[in-house]
């Protein structure tokens, strides 16, 4: 597992300022495309009540949990709005050609 980059999807599979769900190896992730066209990855489930963030709304650098409106900066994982107080784990992302990869190990 020295080189653990995993291909997620094509760049175009994520709209600008949006998020999709990605499952791999028994875990679930949220993959984001920012308004500046950069790509980011976090754990898929909100740290408050384990709700999947891929159903949430991306606004600028923020993802809002679809259930209780906890907010995170998806670029840093920082919890930025009640009721969440535990930060979200982030993962490295790279784009090669038209494909998006994340490093999960």
């Amino acid at each position: 597992m020295a080189d653990s980059w995993i291909e997620v999807c094509a760049k175009d599979a994520i709209d600008e300022e949006d998020v999709i769900r990605f499952d791999y190896g028994g875990k679930t992730y949220a993959i984001y495309r920012s308004p500046e066209d950069t790509f980011h990855a976090t754990d898929g489930l909100c740290t408050h009540e384990k709700i999947h963030l891929a159903d949430g709304l991306v606004m600028d650098d923020t993802i809002e949990c679809p259930k209780h409106n906890g907010r995170f900066d998806y670029k840093t994982g920082e919890a930025v709005g009640a009721p969440v107080c535990i930060n979200l784990k982030t993962y490295p992302v790279k784009v090669e050609g038209e494909a998006v990869f994340i490093k999960v190990a």
Binding site: I51, D55, L57, E64, K67, N69, A82, P83
Partner: protein, 407 residues
Amino acid sequence: MNAGIVIIGAGECGARAAFVLREYGYEEPITLIGSEAHPPYERPPLSKSQGASAPVVVAPRDKYASERIDLRTSCTVTRIDPDLQLVHFAEGDPIKYDKLLLTTGATPRMLRGISPASKRILPMRTFEHALGIKCLLGPTRRTIIVGGGFIGLEVGAMARAAGTEVVILETQSRVLTRGVPQTIADTLVERHRQEGVRFECGIQIEAVRETDDAVEVELADGRTLTADSLVVGIGVVPNTQLAEAAGLVIDNGIAVNELLETSAANIYAAGDCCSFPSAIYDGRRVRLESWRNTQDQGIHAAKMLLGKPDTLASVPWMWSDQYDLTLQVAGLADGSERSVVRNYEDGSRIIFHLGADGRLLAASGIGVGNSIARDMKLSEMLIAARAEPDPDHLSDPSFKLKSILPR
């Protein structure tokens, strides 16, 4: 040292206010007083999850200590003296306040003549109620739910999930008469029926009796229903007794202005216990009973106590989980407006309510899981922005609501 801020009511609202006061750098004493034994906890999971051994707390007890918040649980306030700025307790010395915040919440209505100590006839408001209800659910058990509102339906879904036989009694001709459009109520009722819930609408209850091992409900049509438990979901009344006795103005709850000030100097109120002029609905006086509002107003109350300029412009919002369905309502519809329906491929649906001037006033959505969450959030933002969206855009599920959001 100053007397500081005293908060009566240790629920989500009071707790948020206390923590936010510290976040804003308030240094004087903060006393948070609750009548329940637990530190402030979240009520929504009580009627939604299958039973936990402890409540979901807003913050662990030691967080109150580290934030220098004097959290007093199992503590009963008997009287407020607005002239001397004192709070009196059932036991112990009174304490003085510089400013007082009332977050006293609401109490569930009970059926007449039923003892609050009943083990089989319970409302659903506290952690103890939830424990009491859940221990009477199960595959060989029967429960009667009185009241077809959100609490009744949520408890119904929870009881069915535990294998319990469920009948929901409603005096009106249909359930969920308050708060959601008929077609959304129909979807929920249909789903409950598929799951085996029986509805009895338009009925009158003549008498309720509790024996050692059962509950009996006598109906006006002569039938008698029996069950192991009865859950009362017929609404709540705001806890205004302390405020009323202190001479504060009451108007469907403790009346506050947009600064959350009551009619008495240095006394504020927030959450389920108060009615307030809604900024986004042009000052219409409302009282809300939702988790979101109680948090928003708790945070707002902290700002108001500190004299920070701010307007609470959040949109009323609530949700309900029943089986795999989630319902969300954003905004306040008054029933007179034009409706536009947005049907999604997966069967989810949002109904938008537009005022005569074209302004989006409210939206109600239902779908599996969180399928409608994103568009409901955008609807809420459009309501807050006083947007006047094109009805053709609203009804087209492929149209991106985000694209019409003023940014």
